[in-house]
Amino acid sequence: LAKTTQPISMDSYEGQEVNITCSHNNIATNDYITWYQQFPSQGPRFIIQGYKTKVTNEVASLFIPADRKSSTLSLPRVSLSDTAVYYCLVGSLRDSNYQLIWGAGTKLIIKP
């Protein structure tokens, strides 16, 4: 199974672009990469998911290089409300076996 590693914490300022990189050297062919956001006292919330190259939605972009051994979540023009913990998740569901590996989370603090 892929081991998922991400920075413990990051700081940035309002209006900046923030990039959080997750490494997953042993990612399997069928594995997807998903990022979740978690605010205090809430469950995680889906941000974005990708398999390869680049994915963009209304809140973030996800960059995945050709070897897929890492991925970068990009948050454009962050605001104070983006202060949260961001989790990288790698894996795929196969029948009844849980094969999803969560990173330990990156605590992102946005300063005014």
């Binding site: 997807y32 998903t34 979740y36 006292s41 809430q42 469950g43 995680p44 919330r45 889906f46 998911q49 398999y51 989790y87 795929s92 569901l93 029948d95 009844s96 076996n97 849980y98 999803l100 969560w102 990173g103 330990a104 989370g105």
Partner: protein, 115 residues
């Protein structure tokens, strides 16, 4: 429609007592997960249900922990003879896995405190 709901939202119990935590997944979601999250920590996988298949219990930390899912919908996580180290937030999530990736929808969690 409604999201994932969990009850109770908070539970305080005494060491040695049994507790039951409930999860109501999103209607139609075939997959259901239980996680544990200690204060300031990441997500610890506990158990996974998918349709009518036997659940993956590989994450349950001891035989004091068990879970069931009735009728492919509501799930109950039971912790017997609770210990202080069981204090944590217990999160439930559901999804509708497809050919590709899947999105897990999380409930707000049950905060368990064992005195």
């Amino acid at each position: 429609g409604a999201g994932v709901s969990q009850s109770p939202s908070n539970k305080v119990t005494e060491k040695g007592k049994d507790v039951e935590l409930r999860c109501d997944p999103i209607s139609g979601h075939t997959a259901l997960y239980w996680y544990r999250q200690s204060l300031g920590q990441g997500l610890e996988f506990l158990i996974y249900f998918q349709g009518n298949s036997a659940p993956d219990k590989s994450g349950l930390p001891s035989d004091r922990f068990s879970a069931e899912r009735t009728g492919g919908s509501v799930s109950t996580l039971t912790i017997q003879r609770t210990q202080q180290e069981d204090s944590a937030v217990y999160l439930c999530a559901s999804s509708s896995p497809g050919q590709g990736g899947e999105t897990q929808y999380f409930g707000p969690g049950t905060r368990l405190l064992v005195l």
